[in-house]
């Protein structure tokens, strides 16, 4: 659990982060969204003390984050940044091993952990371990960057626009991989982004920041349905709202009784995907099946349209 209490950062007279308080539950993903200059990166960097706050306290699992020297604190917190920041003079395996080496793990343990992470990220340890970062593609570099952040089994992972430099297709894949790995390790993730789409997709909760202030901190559905201010509404994008709302729900939760013609859609696809398929194929209803191919019922255009309306 991460408790941020009345955190302020001032540079001269201007408050970059202004009296922000929020609690991030363990094993969840909190996404901080905001425009450039909203203070979201500064807030993130105060958690691992790359920036020291002017006022306020940040507690990690109850302990003040100033109870350890900064470098020791940072070894216990994963940190992944935009453009990955891999060490160009070190191999992929050495990059991933950075924090374990600083912590003085023995060689066998480091190797086992590096191999585990590389396998998890679909990078063959034999083939990719001895390569240098510049020999990898952008997507592979990004995966190595996240693997490095996770190497010392941190409970908390901070990510600053980790997918910013990726093309849309690789970005979607990287987001899915992160969700899978978050479930597997139970890591608490705080992710900074300016992309509302990404925030709605990844976040258990979303924190919206504007000019250093925390404007709203709530579940994605609530941010979409009840934006706290005109700024949040703009950020959500009025024309995108119904689709973003649908993207939060699974098809299985919108299933109605009955049957429909044509190709079926899996139950764990998002409702937004189902709507897109309905509109594109011109059908009024789609059959739904579960992972084993068993029919669950159908999902209808009318049903989805009702679900995309503003919640009461």
């Amino acid at each position: 659990m991460i408790e941020i209490e009345g955190i302020t950062k001032r540079y001269d007279a201007t408050a970059v982060v202004d009296d922000v308080s929020m609690v991030i539950e363990p094993r969840t993903i909190a996404v901080i969204v905001g425009t450039s200059g909203s203070g979201k990166t500064t807030l993130l960097r105060m958690i691992n003390r790359l920036v020291e706050p002017t006022a306020g306290v940040i507690k990690l699992d109850g302990a003040d984050n100033r109870s350890l020297p900064g470098y020791e604190l940072r070894r216990s917190i994963g940190y992944a940044i935009q453009g990955h920041g891999l060490f160009p003079h070190r191999t992929v395996a050495q990059n991933i091993a950075t924090v374990p080496v600083l912590l003085g793990w023995d060689k066998a343990r480091i190797k086992a952990r590096v191999d585990e992470l590389m396998t998890l990220y679909q990078l063959d340890p034999e083939a990719f371990g001895p390569r240098y970062p510049h020999e990898l593609s952008g997507g592979q570099q990004q995966r190595v960057g996240v693997a490095r952040a996770l190497a010392a089994e941190p409970n908390v992972l901070l990510m600053d626009e980790p997918f910013g430099a990726l093309d849309p297709i690789i970005r979607t894949k990287a987001q899915e991989d992160l969700l899978t790995i978050q479930k597997r390790f139970g890591t608490t993730i705080i992710l900074v982004t300016h992309d509302m789409e990404e925030a709605v997709h990844m976040g258990d909760k979303i924190a919206v920041m504007d000019a250093g202030k925390l404007v709203q901190y709530a579940k994605p559905a609530e941010i979409l349905a009840k934006p706290a201010s005109a700024f949040v509404e703009t950020l959500v994008g009025a024309s995108e709202r119904p689709f973003r709302l649908l993207s939060l729900g699974r098809v299985r939760d919108a299933v109605e009784k009955g049957t429909a013609e044509g190709e079926a859609i899996p139950g764990d696809a998002s409702q937004r995907d189902a709507l897109a398929e309905l509109l594109w194929s011109g059908r009024p209803a789609l059959p739904v099946r579960d992972a084993d191919g068993k029919p669950l019922g159908r999902v209808t255009l009318d049903g989805l349209v009702k679900r995309s309306a503003r919640p009461a």
Partner: protein, 249 residues
């Protein structure tokens, strides 16, 4: 030009240099037309090989000392605590460069006496600036996100310096050392005016006795050394640049 041609030329130059230093007698007929009145053709007041080795030793010692001091100074002024000394150290090192080498020699002789010492002082002062400037460039142009990652991973200031900053600036620092070695090779010849044992002795002897063969052989050996060492260090620099993932300059 064929790709192997430069390599072949360098190899030929090495062979020629080694042959000349070990068996200068072989080249006597070539240089003979440059002398008059049956003057000696090959320098005869000491072995050319020994002089070359002494010449190289002086440059090596001076460059190593300059490297240690210049890199240490550059590290110091790029730490947050030393930042205010940046302008001061810059001007100190610049003063080293504005002194003509002959003036440094002349001033050093009364202080430390004749021989190798004043030459070492002059070469040391001359070597500082290129290494310092390059080390400063290297240490201040490190990729920002790599430095951010190093801090974020929990490296201490010392660990960042040793594990990230110095390895990444190594190619640029090497470039400074290369310049300083070449300057040193040339400047060391002047050291013979204050009785340092270098190849300058050969040239000065040639000037005093109006012996063109002496001047030529001294000058050519120094030139060949400079070209070969410059080339060798450039190759090392390119290798480290590739190894550190920096673009080759």
């Amino acid at each position: 030009m064929k790709a192997w041609l430069p390599a072949l030329l360098r190899l030929a130059l090495v062979v020629l240099l080694v042959a000349f230093l070990t068996n200068p007698g072989w080249f006597e007929p070539l240089l003979k037309p440059l002398t008059e009145n049956n003057a000696p053709v090959i320098y005869n007041q000491g072995s050319l090989l020994t002089l070359t080795l002494l010449h190289l030793r002086i440059v090596l010692i001076a460059t190593m000392a300059a490297t240690i001091v210049a890199v240490a100074l550059a590290i110091l002024v790029t730490r947050p605590a030393g930042a205010e000394f940046l302008p001061l150290s810059r001007s100190l090192v610049n003063i080293g460069q504005t002194f003509p080498p002959v003036a440094v020699l002349a001033l050093a002789v009364p202080a430390v006496g004749f021989g190798e010492k004043p030459t070492l002082i002059a070469l040391f002062l001359y070597g500082l600036l290129p290494i310092f400037e390059n080390a400063l460039t290297g240490l201040t142009t490190l990729p920002a996100n790599v430095m951010e990652a190093a801090r974020g991973a929990g490296m201490t200031g010392w660990q960042r310096l040793v594990k990230v900053e110095l390895p990444l600036s190594a190619p640029i620092i090497l470039g400074g050392i290369r310049l300083s070695v070449v300057i040193g090779l040339a400047t060391a010849t002047i050291g013979s005016t204050v009785a340092a044992k270098t190849l300058g002795e050969v040239i000065i002897a040639g000037l005093l006795s109006n012996n063109l063969a002496f001047i030529l052989q001294g000058g050519l050996i120094v030139a060949a050394l400079a070209v070969l060492i410059y080339d060798g260090l450039s190759a090392v620099e390119r290798y480290t640049a590739r190894r550190m993932g920096r673009e080759t300059a």
